[in-house]
């Protein structure tokens, strides 16, 4: 009986190990292949072998020389940075109110904000297009900074509210007793306690804005105002059979590696941010 159990235990362990290795392989292979491709040029690109026969950096060089890819990277960083700063600033204020004050209309507001995070982005596209044009923001980074708030702000408000709600009441009472104003309370007392939540939500909002495609595609025209996803999607050759795959993969690697580094470095925060966003709600 016991022997039987341990034998099936070995089977189970082997099965689990095999499945784990398969998942790791499937998860990593496309990126590995993209990296390998990004160092291939000429006929090497169309050969059957995985690794380049001669690794060249030409694809990377031409991205920055023949295209405004450096500018695109800067654009993405600026847009995502501003969007995250605005979202976190605004949501710190409202998270205190929504998480800790029992005012009338609070529940309705929270549900509305959750509802906005479900908005299909194309449903606001024509209205936003009109708004962006009216303010003269068409084909500028500001257009993306404005429209990306549509999905980052509800998310940061929602997650920070759940974290703000869990902070101890005594601290707030003590601070108010000492005559602290509301801004002192939020930014001097609560902010330092919320760092993990801020890192998690800020990072997830950054990734969301960095990856945003629809607004960036629709609200920009010139290649100098494009963010990276649009630049990559629009890299084209003379025909669909002459797409410069080496360049596309080099660009893909450049935008992906920093994200992966960030995500792996802040793994724990990210998982807590994701689950706070979905499960706690």
């Amino acid at each position: 009986m016991r022997r039987h159990a341990s034998r099936s235990g070995i089977w189970a362990t082997g099965l689990r190990r095999g499945a784990s290795l398969l998942v790791v392989f499937v998860s990593l292979f496309p990126l590995a292949y993209a990296i390998a491709t990004s160092f291939k040029q000429g006929s090497d690109l169309f050969g059957a072998q995985f690794w380049p026969s001669r690794a060249v950096t030409g694809n990377y060089v031409s991205l920055f020389r023949d295209q405004p890819f450096g500018t695109n990277l800067l654009n993405s960083t600026l847009v995502a940075g501003v969007v995250v700063a605005l979202s976190l600033g605004l949501s710190l204020l409202s998270a205190w109110a929504l998480g800790r004050v029992d005012f009338r209309g609070r529940q309705t507001l929270l549900l509305t904000i959750l509802g906005v995070s479900m908005f299909p982005h194309v449903a606001v596209l024509s209205g936003l297009f009109e708004l962006v044009s009216a303010f003269g923001l068409y084909d500028s980074l500001a257009a993306m900074m404005l429209s990306d708030l549509l999905f980052t702000l509800p998310f940061t408000v929602w997650v920070l509210t759940t974290f703000m709600r869990d902070l101890p009441k005594e601290i707030e009472e003590a601070a108010l007793m000492d005559g602290a104003g509301i801004f002192t309370l939020i930014f001097r007392v609560f902010l330092p306690m919320l760092w993990p939540a801020l890192v998690a939500t800020g990072l997830l909002a950054f990734i969301g804005a960095w990856n945003e495609f629809l607004f960036a595609l629709t609200f920009t025209l010139s290649s100098n105002e494009r963010t990276v996803p649009v630049a990559i999607a629009l890299i084209s050759g003379a025909s669909s059979y002459e797409l410069p795959w080496g360049n596309i993969m080099a660009a893909s690697v450049i935008v992906t590696l920093p994200l992966i580094a960030l995500v792996l470095a802040f793994q724990r925060y990210i998982v807590s941010g994701l689950t706070a966003g979905a499960v706690k709600g």
């Binding site: 290795l21 024509s126 708004l131 990276v228 992906t256 979905a278």
Partner: protein, 297 residues
Amino acid sequence: MELRGLRSRQAWWLVLPTAAVLAAVAGWPLSRTIFFSLTDARLSSLATRQFVGLSNYLGDSGVLRDPEWWASVGNTLLFAGSSVLLETLLGLGIALLLNHPSRLRTALRAAVLVPWAIPTVVSAKMWTWMLHDQFGIINTALVASGLVSEPLAWTADPELSFVTIVLVDVWKTTPFMALLTLAALQMVPRDCYEAAEVDGVPPWRVFTHVTLPLILPALLVAMVFRGLDALRVFDVIYVMTSNSRATRSMSVYVREQLIDFQKIGHGSAAATLLFATIAVVTLAWLLATRSRMRETR
């Protein structure tokens, strides 16, 4: 009493900036979209438009009479249903692997985060290249192993492209489901497993009778989130197959009408219908969870 009033007023002031921004980027544009859907506005001349009532919806060339629209509705529903189902099952499997102590666990968790961290546009491009009909490594491998006799046109063949889109989405989004499911698994009290072990309950029954019922509420929430997200799918389809009829989603249809055909009226009508679909699903879900919360209280 005085103090509570002050606190409430302060709360309103602090919520105001957020509410104003959301009104500007969500409320106002949405109301404009609904308004445009009742006009014949065109992208090049937004200001000169005429009120046309419901003809963008019901007219002879209205959205509801457009077979292309209904094809995109079908595609979207099928996409949302199949991708969420696959992601949930695979996510559950990966979560179970992650929840089991082993040396591989750390590596597995890190590896699983990689597809999730890759921008959708980039993952779409990576897969397009790997699935390239002539030079793609997947076709090369399949032909070399004798599984297929000639290379498959993964993204160009209308019968295959839909499956391709679903698989690429599953690759990218399963980690999200796995992490949420793992969080739910970790909240299952250890005693439940210990009690089952003492009673000699076989693992499969432990899973179906203990684990699954306990994580089901969290799993459903994650499925609803993913489902609502899948209903508005755009990036992966636009990049991999652009406007092909076999894969066109509701969002892709809307953007094609609005921008490529410049038909703001018609496109806004379709956008309004998509919004209504998602709103109905969201409201139904909110009502369901609220009544459930009341029951448990």
